[in-house]
C-alpha cells in the first residue's frame, strides 16, 4: 500500500510539473519540512538547553547539505521553553497551530511532563530529548512520544554498576540527592546496582548507606556535607544537578570531602561541572556521557567525526559539550523516521519509528517498539583536573548496553523497582 501511494505521488508530482498546475499540492511536496525545537534557552536549564540546540542545528545543517529530506529542505523553528512546563505547553500548541507536527522537546523532566500528554491531542510526533523520568515511558506513555535518552532506571543503574566495577575497593557507598521523585529514584537505582554488581566486582557485597536528602531548591549544602564527612562511606552518588552541583563542590572541597570520597558518580552535569571547577574538579568524578569527540569509541565513529567537524566549523569552538550529541541524536531519529516513512504524516512517521534503528555519534541505537524507549550503549566518563586549559580532562570512557540494564517494557503502568525479578 505504501508503495502504491509513493508511486501515485510520483506520478502526481510529475503531472503537476509538466502541466504547471495544482500549485498547493506541489507546494506541499517542495515546501520545506518544518521541525519545531523547544529547549530551555533561559533560566536554570539554559547551559544544557543551548548545547542541545547546537546539536540539533548541526543535524539540520548536515541534512540540508546532503540534499534535504525526501527532496525537501528541512527548517528548524526554535522556541525557548524557559525551563517551564506551562511555556512548553504553549509552544507545542503554537507549533501545532502553525502546522508543525514534528517536534523535539523535553530537554528536562519538568518540560517533558507537560509536553508528553499533549502530543496525541495535537497529533504530533514529539521526541523527548533528554528527560529521563520514568513516567514518560510508563504511566504517561502514548504512541506519539519517543525518548532518545536512557531512562532513569537504566541510566543510574548503569552508573552504579560502572562505579562499583571501576572502583571495587570501595566498600561503603552513600547517595546525596534532592528530595523529589527523580532524586529519590536515581539514588535508589544507583544503590541497588552497586549492591547487585559488587559481589561480581570484588567478591563481597558492598554496603550502601541511607540516602541523605537535600531540599530540591537548596543552594547551601553545609549540613549535608557535614553528614557525609561524618559517615563511613568512601563512594558517593551525587543526585544534585546544574548550578547547585557546582555550589556543592565549592562548599565540599574546602572541608576536605575530596580526600574522603575516593569516587563520585554525578547525575549528568559532566563537562558543565568540569568547565566551572577546572583545577578543582574531583580527581575521580564519573558522569553520564553523551559524547566525547576525542575518546574511543567516539573518535573512530564517522557520525561523531562529522559532528565534531561541523561543530567546530559552525560554532567556532574546539571543545563541544557532550550534550551537543543528545540534541543531534534526537534530530537524526526524527529524520530517519521521516526518511523511512517517506512522508511527514504523523501516523506514518510513528509507524516507521517504532522499530527504527539508526547510527548516532555513540554507535547504533534503536527504539523499543512497545514503549518507544531508545536502546543502545550508554556511556560513562571519568574526569579529573588537568594542568592545561581547560584545566579538567576526561580520562576514561566505559559503556554499558541498555539491554542488560533496562526494565521490561510496561507502557501505561507506573514503574516499581520492587516488582522486578532480582
Amino acid at each position: 500500500m505504501m508503495k502504491r501511494r509513493t508511486v501515485l505521488k510520483g506520478i502526481a508530482a510529475g503531472a503537476g510539473v509538466t502541466l504547471g498546475m495544482n500549485a498547493t499540492y506541489l507546494r506541499a511536496q517542495t515546501a520545506p519540512i518544518r521541525i519545531g525545537a523547544s529547549y530551555a534557552l533561559s533560566g536554570v536549564g539554559a547551559p544544557v538547553g543551548t548545547q542541545m540546540l547546537a546539536g540539533t542545528e548541526i543535524a539540520i545543517h548536515q541534512i540540508n547539505r546532503d540534499g534535504g529530506l525526501l527532496g525537501r529542505e528541512v527548517q528548524l523553528v526554535t522556541r525557548d521553553d524557559k525551563y517551564n512546563s506551562a511555556e512548553s505547553v504553549a509552544i507545542a500548541r503554537e507549533f501545532a497551530g502553525d502546522g508543525i507536527n514534528l517536534m523535539l522537546g523535553g530537554s528536562q523532566t519538568v518540560t517533558a511532563l507537560g509536553l508528553a500528554p499533549l502530543a496525541p491531542e495535537l497529533n504530533m510526533v514529539a521526541i523527548i530529548v533528554a528527560a529521563a523520568g520514568m513516567p514518560v515511558t510508563h504511566e504517561l506513555f502514548n504512541r506519539n512520544i519517543f525518548r532518545t535518552t536512557a531512562n532513569n532506571y537504566t541510566q543510574y543503574g548503569s552508573l552504579g554498576r560502572t562505579l562499583i566495577e571501576q572502583n571495587p575497593e570501595i566498600r561503603t557507598w552513600v547517595s546525596l540527592a534532592p528530595d523529589g521523585d527523580f532524586g529519590r529514584d536515581s539514588a535508589l537505582f544507583f544503590g541497588r546496582a552497586v549492591e547487585k554488581y559488587s559481589e561480581a566486582a570484588s567478591g563481597e557485597k558492598a554496603t550502601v548507606l541511607d540516602t541523605i536528602y537535600t531540599q530540591a531548591t537548596a543552594t547551601d549544602f553545609r549540613t549535608q556535607i557535614n553528614q557525609l564527612m561524618s559517615s563511613q562511606a568512601e563512594g558517593l552518588y551525587l543526585g544534585i544537578a546544574a548550578s547547585a552541583q557546582i555550589s556543592f563542590f565549592q562548599q565540599a572541597r574546602s572541608v576536605g570531602l575530596y580526600d574522603k570520597f575516593k569516587a563520585i558518580g554525578e547525575v549528568g552535569n559532566s563537562d558543565i561541572t568540569g568547565k566551572a571547577l577546572g583545577r578543582n574538579t574531583h580527581p575521580n568524578l564519573w558522569s553520564i556521557c553523551h559524547w566525547l569527540y576525542n575518546q574511543e569509541p567516539f573518535a573512530s565513529n564517522p557520525v561523531s567525526q562529522q559532528l565534531y567537524k561541523d561543530y567546530v566549523e559552525l560554532k567556532g569552538d574546539d571543545f563541544p559539550s557532550g550534550q551537543v550529541a543528545a540534541g543531534h541524536r534526537a534530530a537524526i531519529a526524527l529524520f530517519e523516521g521521516i526518511r523511512k516513512a517517506e512522508t511527514t504524516d504523523t501516523d506514518e512517521v510513528i509507524g516507521a519509528m517504532e522499530n527504527l534503528s539508526f547510527e548516532s555519534a555513540g554507535g547504533p541505537v534503536e527504539f523499543r517498539t512497545e514503549d518507544h524507549q531508545m536502546l543502545g550503549l550508554n556511556f560513562y566518563s571519568q574526569m579529573g583536573p588537568s594542568t592545561e586549559e581547560p584545566y579538567f580532562q576526561f580520562n576514561k570512557v566505559t559503556s554499558v548496553d541498555a539491554v542488560e540494564m533496562i526494565e521490561p517494557a510496561n507502557p501505561g503502568q507506573p514503574f516499581d523497582i520492587n516488582e522486578l525479578p532480582q
Binding site: 505547553v89 503554537e94 501545532a96 497551530g97 508528553a116
Partner: protein, 337 residues
C-alpha cells in the same frame, strides 16, 4: 489612530458614554468568542492565559486598588485553586466541574478568612505583604513534599472536564470548547467583580482605603470590611487558578512563589490600578510584550525588563492613566477652540 483608540478606552472608563462602553465590550466578546477560528493554537493558548491572568490581576487589585491592602503572596491563592482543581480532575473526585470550581473559590476564601482573622486587624502595608509571601513560600515547600501533588515535577496530565447539565453533556475535552467555557467564566467573574466594586460594599472598601480612621468614625467596621475584601480577592484568585488547571493541563511549583505573586501586581500597575479595567489592560499588555519577545531567545529578559521600566517612567499611572491623560489633553484643546 492612537487618538481614536484612546478616546474609545476613555469612553469606557467614564460615565461619559453609556453606549460606547457596551459596544466595545460586545465587540471584544464577539472577537474572543470567534478567536478559535481566527488564531493559531499557540496564540489561542496565550489569549486564554491572558483571560486567566486578567481575573488574577483583578482579584489582586480588588484588594489593593479598592481596599488599599497589598498582598505579595497572591500566587498562594491561585495555587490553592489550581492544585485543587488539578487533583479533582486527575484523581476524579466524582464532583461536577462547576462544583469543583466553586469549592476551589471557597477554599481560597476560607484561607483568606483564616489569615484575615489572625492578622488583618494588625497588619497592613508591608507587613501584610511579607506575611503573604512567607505563607506562600511555606505552602510551596509543603506541596513540594506531597507525592500526590507531584512534588517538584508538578501535577501533570490533568484531563479536561465534561460538564453534566442533566439534559446534555458539555464536553470540554477539546481546546476550543474549553476555551469558550473559559471565556464565559471570565465574563461572569469580571461582571461579578464589577458589581462588587460598584455596590455598597465596594464603596465601603474605598472608604477604608481613603481614610481608615474616618471610615471607622462614620460607622464602618474597618477590620470586617478588610477581611471581606481579602476573602473575595483570595476566592477570585483561587478561581483564576482553578480555571487555569484544565487549560494548561499541568500545575507546577513555578506558579507558587514570590515571582509568580508579582505577576498580578505588575499587570495591575502596568495597566493602572486606579481603574477597574486597568488590570485587564495590563494583563493584555504584559502578555503582548512577552509574546512579541518570545523569539528573541536570550534577549527576551532584557527586553521585557527594559520595557517595564520604560512604561513605569513614561506612564507612572499605568496605561489606562496615560490614555486618560492623552484624552483629556485632546479634549482640553478641543474645548479651547
Amino acid at each position: 489612530m492612537v487618538q481614536n483608540s484612546s478616546t474609545s478606552i476613555q469612553g469606557r472608563m467614564t460615565t461619559f458614554s453609556p453606549v460606547l462602553g457596551p459596544v466595545v465590550l460586545t465587540a471584544l466578546f464577539a472577537f474572543l468568542f470567534f478567536a478559535p477560528m481566527m488564531l493559531n493554537a499557540g496564540l489561542l493558548f496565550w489569549v486564554g492565559m491572558t483571560m486567566i491572568q486578567a481575573i488574577f490581576a483583578l482579584s489582586w487589585n480588588l484588594l489593593f486598588g479598592y481596599t488599599g491592602l497589598a498582598s505579595f503572596g497572591h500566587a498562594g491563592f491561585y495555587a490553592i485553586g489550581a492544585y485543587f482543581t488539578g487533583a479533582a480532575l486527575r484523581y476524579d473526585f466524582q464532583l461536577p466541574f462547576l462544583v469543583v470550581l466553586a469549592v476551589a473559590g471557597i477554599l481560597g476564601a476560607l484561607v483568606a478568612l483564616a489569615i484575615g482573622v489572625v492578622a488583618l486587624k494588625r497588619l497592613t502595608g508591608i507587613f501584610l505583604a511579607v506575611l503573604t509571601v512567607a505563607l506562600t513560600e511555606a505552602m510551596a515547600k509543603i506541596i513540594g513534599l506531597s507525592k500526590a501533588l507531584g512534588e517538584q515535577d508538578g501535577l501533570g496530565n490533568i484531563p479536561r472536564p465534561i460538564i453534566d447539565l442533566g439534559f446534555l453533556d458539555l464536553d470540554l475535552t477539546h481546546s476550543h470548547d474549553y476555551y469558550r467555557f473559559l471565556l464565559i467564566a471570565t465574563v461572569v467573574t469580571v461582571a461579578a467583580l464589577w458589581w462588587v466594586v460598584h455596590s455598597r460594599l465596594g464603596r465601603s472598601f474605598r472608604a477604608v482605603r481613603e481614610d481608615a480612621e474616618r471610615a471607622r468614625f462614620v460607622g464602618i467596621d474597618v477590620a470586617r470590611v478588610r477581611v471581606i475584601s481579602f476573602m473575595i480577592s483570595g476566592g477570585t484568585a483561587a478561581l483564576a487558578g482553578a480555571l487555569s488547571a484544565p487549560w494548561t493541563r499541568i500545575v507546577t511549583l513555578d506558579q507558587v512563589n514570590w515571582l509568580a505573586s508579582t505577576q498580578p501586581i505588575l499587570n495591575s500597575l502596568l495597566g493602572g490600578f486606579t481603574s477597574f479595567w486597568g488590570p485587564v489592560v495590563g494583563a493584555v499588555a504584559y502578555t503582548g510584550i512577552n509574546y512579541w519577545t518570545r523569539t528573541f531567545a536570550g534577549l527576551s529578559e532584557m527586553l521585557v525588563g527594559g520595557i517595564l521600566v520604560l512604561v513605569i517612567l513614561l506612564a507612572p499611572t499605568g496605561i489606562v492613566g496615560l490614555l486618560g491623560k492623552a484624552t483629556r489633553r485632546i479634549r482640553g484643546n478641543g474645548g479651547k477652540k
